[in-house]
């Protein structure tokens, strides 16, 4: 069953509404003429399979781990606390 999701839900921003200024930009695109042969996607930033980096696990440094923990928003009794998760 399809469920219509409004932009406030999609954006996780309460009360978000499409902006008039931004809609004006989108109207220009909607009305623009495009050449039918233009879907060549020359801008693909493909990475050759021969050029992929090594699939290595790199251990974070001690200071990096410390900073990640320091940045965590909520801690209690030595645990990192996340928001209550519900299913709906």
């Amino acid at each position: 069953m399809s469920k219509i999701m409004t932009v406030d839900i999609l954006s996780s921003i309460k009360g978000a509404q499409p902006s008039e200024a931004v809609n004006k930009l989108f109207d220009v695109i909607k009305n623009a003429h495009t050449n039918n042969n233009s879907l060549n996607n020359v801008n693909y930033n493909c990475v050759s399979v021969n050029d992929l980096r090594e699939d290595l696990v790199v251990e974070s440094s001690a200071i990096e781990k410390e900073l990640i923990i320091e940045n965590f928003p909520n801690k209690k009794n030595g645990y990192l606390v996340v928001a209550k998760i519900i299913e709906d």
Partner: protein, 465 residues
């Protein structure tokens, strides 16, 4: 202006100044400044590094060209252990866990970071007013905006608070503030400098680049930061540009976009000054060609459609779970929503919502995918142009800098003011702003990975206009 890096290097090695005195002087200027360019000062780190440089000089050891040279960093880059706020409420207490590749290369060369610089939040803006640290004031006239989003970086360079600064350019964010503050600013070819450790705005056009007061300093810093990086798979290999290679002009044909100049949106003075610059170039025996290009409104709309889509995706990670200013609510979804609603600025929310609109079912075909198709046409147009001309010359902006407060009232006008910069971003082309030719400078663009030709032509323009 000659290279400040070389002049300071000479003063350091001949012991006319100490590195500590140099760093202290710049820190003092930054501390006292009333242009709102500073998000955080890196004084302890900078003074420690300066003491090490002084110790080397005292021992008679050789130092590198960038060793001891103070620089600034737009506050969207990671530098381990320092704040990286993106000028946002959400990340106002966030500390970088690691260091960006481009910044690490400068540190390895011995340059000294002084300051994390004010900018539009997450790069979302063209005026450096969309920030929790106060609007950045223009270096020339404090009633006017500094430009953006790398406004703090441009003003710091213009006022000599930093010798050079590292900005980020997605749709003009280095070139436009460079133009507004009369300095040089380079957006390199997409991928020439690794984006690893730069907070992502629109990943397909985000570029790392230098702002400085001389062409030579741009060259020096560009060389140090360039190169392929395994941590950014879109990065590319490039060759070092030597000082000698950019001294003699080899450009024979210059093009400019007729429709940029022949329209009602350009200020008469900008138009007259640009055409006068073209005449001066012609007088030097260089052939000038008028080129056809896409209308400005199509360029701006294509850029913003794609940039908003990409930023909606990139910023979806900012939900206060692992980092950021989390605001707790009754459950996970509400916590996400409240955290994002309360912590993102109006402009950032506008762009995220716009991005999600164009990515939604029913809209993606007629807006997002069409935007991608137009981008392909723009890129094809550039390929054709560079078969006919060596360089494309254009104004940086159609108008002079607006007054502080005006851009916030009229976002559409702000988007349209990016008309001359966004096309080159979509084409992923290298473009340099030079502080000449019009009140907000000129842009020099070349084919991909041809920064050498741009710097060569910039040297030629310096003596021509």
């Amino acid at each position: 202006m000659e290279s400040q890096i070389k002049a300071l290097h000479q003063q350091l090695v001949t012991k006319q100044i100490t590195c500590t005195a140099l760093v202290k002087e710049k820190l003092e200027l930054l501390k006292k400044n009333t242009h709102n360019t500073v998000n955080s000062l890196l004084d302890t780190l900078a003074l420690d590094l300066a003491a090490k440089v002084d110790a080397k000089i005292t021992k008679g050891e050789e130092i590198g060209l960038l060793e001891g040279i103070p620089f600034g960093i737009k506050d969207v880059y990671m530098l381990q252990g320092t704040f990286a706020t993106a000028s946002s409420n959400l990340l106002k207490n966030y500390k970088s866990a690691y260091t960006a590749t481009a910044i690490q290369k400068l540190l390895d060369a011995g340059a000294i970071p002084l300051v994390k610089e004010n900018c539009d939040s997450f790069g979302h803006g063209s005026s450096s007013e969309n920030t929790i640290f106060g609007a950045v004031k223009n270096a020339v006239n404090t009633d006017l905006v500094a430009g953006g989003s790398s406004g703090g970086s441009a003003v710091n360079v213009a006022l000599d608070y930093t010798v050079f600064s590292i900005g980020g350019d997605t749709g003009g964010s280095i070139r436009q503030p460079a133009g507004y503050n009369n300095i040089y600013g380079l957006k390199p070819t997409y991928g020439r400098i690794s984006r690893y450790g730069l907070m992502a705005y629109a990943s397909s056009t985000d570029c790392v680049g230098p702002l400085a007061k001389s062409i030579e300093d741009i060259r020096i810093v560009l060389n140090v930061m360039s190169g392929k990086d395994a941590k950014d798979q879109t990065s590319i290999t490039s060759s070092e540009i030597t000082e000698d290679a950019i001294l003699k002009n080899t450009v024979k044909t210059v093009g400019y976009f007729k429709n940029f100049i022949e329209n009602d949106a350009i200020a008469p003075k900008v138009k007259a000054d640009f055409l006068q610059s073209i005449e001066k170039v012609k007088l030097k025996g260089i052939k000038v060609k008028e080129l056809d290009f896409f209308p400005s409104d199509i360029l701006v709309s294509t850029y913003y459609t794609l940039a908003m889509a990409e930023t909606a995706s990139n910023l979806s990670r900012l939900d206060g779970t692992n980092y950021g200013n989390r605001i707790e609510d009754k459950n996970l979804k509400e916590t996400y929503a409240v955290t994002r609603s309360e912590n993102f600025s109006e402009e950032t929310k506008r762009r995220i919502v716009g991005g999600n609109q164009v990515l939604s079912q029913g809209f993606s075909d007629e807006i997002y995918l069409k935007g991608l198709a137009i981008r392909d046409q723009i890129a094809a147009n550039f390929t054709k142009d560079f078969e006919e001309v060596d360089i494309i010359l254009s104004p940086v902006t159609p108008m002079s800098p607006p007054k502080i407060g005006d851009s916030l009232k009229d976002p559409l006008a702000m988007y349209l003011s990016d008309a001359y910069t966004v096309g080159f971003s979509l084409g992923q082309l290298p473009t340099l702003t030079v502080p000449q030719g019009t009140q907000t400078g000129l842009q020099i663009t070349a084919a991909k990975n041809n920064e050498e030709l741009i710097l060569k032509f910039a040297n030629f323009l310096k003596d021509t206009i």
